[in-house]
Amino acid sequence: MKRISSQLPGMDSSYNMRLREWEMSQETNKMGTQSRIKDLRDDPLAAARSTRYQSEIFRMERYGKNVSTAQGTMAVAEGNLMQAVDVLQRMRELAVQGATGTVDPAQMGYMGEEVDQLFRELVNIGNARAEDGSYLFSGTQPRTEPFRTTAGHVPGTGGDRITQVDYLGNNGTRLAEVSEGSTMGLNMPGHTVFWAEQQQVYSTTDASSYRVQADSRIRLDGTEIDLRAGDNVYAIIARINDADVALKAELDPVSSSLMLRTTQPHQVWAEDLAGGTVLQDLGILDKESPRPPQNFAKSARVFGGSVFDMAMHLRDALLEGNAEKVGGSGIRGIDDSLQSVTTALAEIGSKDSRLEGIAKRISSETAEVTGFDSEDRGLDLAESITRLRMLEFGHEAALAASARVMQKTLLDYLR
């Protein structure tokens, strides 16, 4: 292209100046937002990665909050359980004293009174509340007081004493997601923490010829177990034993009836689901009152008591003045209770250390991902300013050049 028309230099410089102006405007804009990506087209793949990073950072902040909440809740429970341990240890001391046989009945009576007071304190701990007014040990019924006391008459004393403590909460666990895909239970239901002995439920109904009528489901300790039509009692026992529950089912050889036994101290939570009646037909559950835990059949024999039962047993033995009982089943009961409560404390402790580990990991991951996001999205200010200066410099040079080129034409020289 050898021939240059008069318009060409103007068109050219105009084109190039517009281009440069646009580049300068883009650069200034990016500096204003501190982001390398002003429009998605600037770096589509980095923008796509950035969306993932940002969401991940947001999620990890939430997990961090959940971890703190979990640690806080468990700290409160821990405090209460440590108090309970103190109370039980004092009770044990008294029991040991009372069992020596060198104490006279009147003194045993006073010890019994002290145990009674300690026992009431224990009930209060069981009914402890968190800072927002919800009960700590009632499972997933935070507005229901977990332990209800019933007063009655204790032989050997005057006046009313507490004779029964019933658990009114449920066996639910409140779960919180503490890291991606993994949850942790925040609470401990009272019927596992405050339970001292293995519970055993002996039905008295002969089950040798029993057959399940229709497909049904039972729920033991929150785990659902399917039963098929035509299952006999051995099949039912096999299914229960295969399931992931801390229960063992057996057939009582004497009465050919079903027997349920816990393998870790807690109160058995048994239900028939969806209109089925298998456990009721087998004599385990009462047909009239289907809601656990007060739903065992009246004909069934239930053994195994809670921490409160043990405390009441000790108190009654002391008030009676029965040193043998005190030294035997009394101390044993308190020991079992201590075992349960300290087990619960150990569980809290291990959960807490797991949460510590998770919290550390979350904070280091958050830092890493923030770093990645910043690499993708963040603007290198020094580089950007340099680029802008170069563009400005080029722009000035171009302006000066165009001015010069368009100065003189032949017309200026023709007379």
Binding site: S5, M11, D39, L40, R41, P44, A48, A176, E177
Partner: protein, 625 residues
Amino acid sequence: MQSTFAGVELGKRGIIAHQQALQTAGHNVSNASVEGYSRQRVEMGATDPLYFPQLNRENTPGQIGQGVDVQRIARTKDELLEGRIVAEDNQQGYWEARDKYILMLEQVYNEPGDSSVRNLMDKFWDSWQELSVRPSEIAARKAVLQRGQALAEGIQDRFSRLKGIRDSVEGDIQGTVKQVSDLVSGIAGLNEQISKSQALGDMPNDLLDRRDNLIGQLSSLVDITVSSRDPDEMVVASGGVRLVQGRLFEAPAMVVDPDNEGYSRVVWTDSGKDARFRGGKLAALLELRDIDARGEIQDLDMMTVNFTDMVNEIHRGGYDLSGANGRDFFVEYPFINNISGNYDRSGDGEYDSTYVFRITGANALTAKDQVGLRGSLTLPSAGGDVQVEYFPTDTVEDLMSRINLSGSEVTARLNSEGRLSLKGSPASDPRNPDFVIRGLSDSGQFLVGYAGILRKSGPDGAYTWEKADATRDLRENGVGFSVAPLSHPSGWIVVNPKLSADPGAVAAASGSSGISDGIGDGGAALAIAQLRTRPVMLGQASGFDAFFAAQTADIGLRGEEAAKSLDTAKLVMKDLKDLRESFSGVNIDEEMTNMITFQRGYAAIARFVNTFDEMLDTVINRMGV
């Protein structure tokens, strides 16, 4: 013997010719800054000399020159270059329009930033996490409702912005079609004038320039080819149709298309057939409206309908503070009154179709189980049906991913209870409704007894949407289905007003058989929160993270392509236009130089006339007086 005044005639001819040349130079200079003007050159040639070999030839040595004539005033134009420019111009028009609107679509996203739909959704999930940790609180429920409303509004806002873009493109299309019409009739008019002028032997240069200008404008709007093979009839053609033929023309027009939500189709006025363009601004606008913007809206709808369906499914099974369950969290206005999904498609007052979005089987399946069955599924897709075969050793997971990758407009997943959930996806043919399952059939037992959806295998037990109450053909017990949204779900999504009025009705607890697990249980809330990270199958994406990332990358890459292609097209055009300018543009210095030449020539001939005049004077006044 020559005539006495032959010399004067010669002079006169010369003067007139040089005058015309000067005038042309002046014309060039005046039009130097006119866009598209090509400089005119006077082509002078020697007049026919005396004497030709003829009978009345004088017997004197010849041939005697008779001076100069202007033979032609021609435009300096390279026709081949013009053809190249016309052919390439539609590329720039196409990418310019595309670049502008894709940028608008990119900006709708608000990514990567804090006010995008993704961010609102993250905050929404976060509020469910909070509720799962404090399930008996009213405050946490209020937060969930607030964030849910903010998300619904964010989605609606994005929908209306996308719709707004689609509407602007429609307006642009109408304007462009009108422009094309005007240009086409203008060119035809000019053709008539030019051919009249050319019939008289003239070169109507300025008319030709103006016609070239109109053709240039037209070439950026639609892809055209120009053919001047027949000198009487210039033909401008596009996509096999002749837009202009001589003074006849065919213009495009707009016709409302009810299948495309009331947007218009471009047709040819005379034949009524659809106009198809492959380049130029009009083609870009049509693609933007019907492929890009519509695709964005479909993606948003698909995410909305799936996400609300999943949240609602879990929320319905969750229990609130009063122990009640069964409420949806998100609802769509207007409500669909017919719970079986019946719909009157033909508009004749009778239900004739069933619009069902999701069908859930009755049986709980395990993903890693082998199906142990043989058969072939028939699923609807854009161009008819697709067959998906399955074999006894396939696992349920394998079969579901085969369904999802088969190109059918049905996606499969296992829901939270492990039941097979088939969902309709957006339809690529605008005549089919989005998010409707149009048919299901199985030659074996997978959908029948295994998953528990159909009653029988084979065509007898097939489910089809083309009749009312088609849901009665599904299995009786345990099959669940949800009705398809009637119009764009993302435009009409709101939080269930019953929940907004009574925050305690927000379900957080799980339960079974109508009994809640307790107000302190946050199982349902946790399940909803975990939807964010689970592989939930949104179209082809396997989870929300993948979906958002894919969307962002997709529009970003399209934008990048548009920007780069536009830069390339602009450079190509610039080079061509510079070449044209170099060839046909006016150089003032050159014209000035030419003017000097012609001026001197003029002066010289005037001088000659003068001399001849003196000679004649001698003959006339001084001979024989």
